[in-house]
Symmetry: C2
Subunit: 206 residues, 2 copies
Amino acid sequence: MVRDRYPSLLLEQAIDAFAKLPGVGRKTAMRFALHVLRQDEEEVDGFVRAIGTLRHEVKYCRVCHNLSDRDVCDICGDKQRDRGLVCVVEGVRDVMAIESTQQYNGLYHVLGGVISPMEGIGPGDLEIDSLVRRTQEEPVREVILALSSTMEGDTTGYYIWRKLQSTGVKLSIIARGIAVGDELQYTDEVTLGRSIKDRTPFTGVQ
Amino acid sequence: MVRDRYPSLLLEQAIDAFAKLPGVGRKTAMRFALHVLRQDEEEVDGFVRAIGTLRHEVKYCRVCHNLSDRDVCDICGDKQRDRGLVCVVEGVRDVMAIESTQQYNGLYHVLGGVISPMEGIGPGDLEIDSLVRRTQEEPVREVILALSSTMEGDTTGYYIWRKLQSTGVKLSIIARGIAVGDELQYTDEVTLGRSIKDRTPFTGVQ
């Protein structure tokens, strides 16, 4: 591929920068750069400041390791929440997804990833030791695994199960079954088998 | 729509910033922000610097108004180019597109947009007066209109034609016809009609 000849080195450098964002190719990066040129200088300064500030000043909650502006995040600091429940998730987005269901009132523990030999991520790179410590030092009744239903997620769940066995804390995993709104005939057989095996008592309403 | 509750104000501000880029929604902006958090601080500083520098330090060529790192751009400064030809385009991307054809050896004139009453862009917002001045002060033989084949592009072309009539400079427009590789039966009738009307002598090779 012939590399485009840009009229300005500054433009080329900005395009290089934007093209490093995930899923952004050089055409989109060019569109972003030309957009920046159409903005007021103050607007661009605000844009740049928001991103620099995020990287330099963001904190992670020292209890659950979720993103936070303070030492302890709003969820861990909330006295209304059930402190006996800890839901283990991979990342920030999972916390937001579960929070938006409004079905959970416990705390979280953000691992910062899942075990993935392919990407060179081992247990030591994740917040697993701090999870074990937490179950010992805090009044944790139950740990809920809410990881992706992938090989990496399952491996991580198994590793945590091994680590928590000796602590005596109850370990559960979120239900796997057919998605709400899905048709039975289009559900894959592994999921369908799982949903039959893990059937729950029916009480007339869903 | 319920607005997501973000765990960190800094994260939310960075997402707000990214979501202002064209075509970027809040989900993509979130992905960008989490990507930023995974980068080294130096990398993020470099990203931010490239964008800030582009906005603050970019120049526009004082002859053709294309983006440039110097007062006069590389194309206008190139003594090998035919200074009697000026190709009028809407923006930077058009210059790059024509340059990549390697079929043009003249100079350019970047209008910075096209006349668009809908968007409040009038002739005074564009580099049209400077084009007229250029045809009078420089040895310009021919002005080539290379604008989009839209109502706005046609309006702008017509306006420039009116302005240049008294100067006596030759005005031409890039050919409109069926695209190379296109099948005749799928070409719209306006384009096809135009391509018959503007037929060119056939010399055995294309």
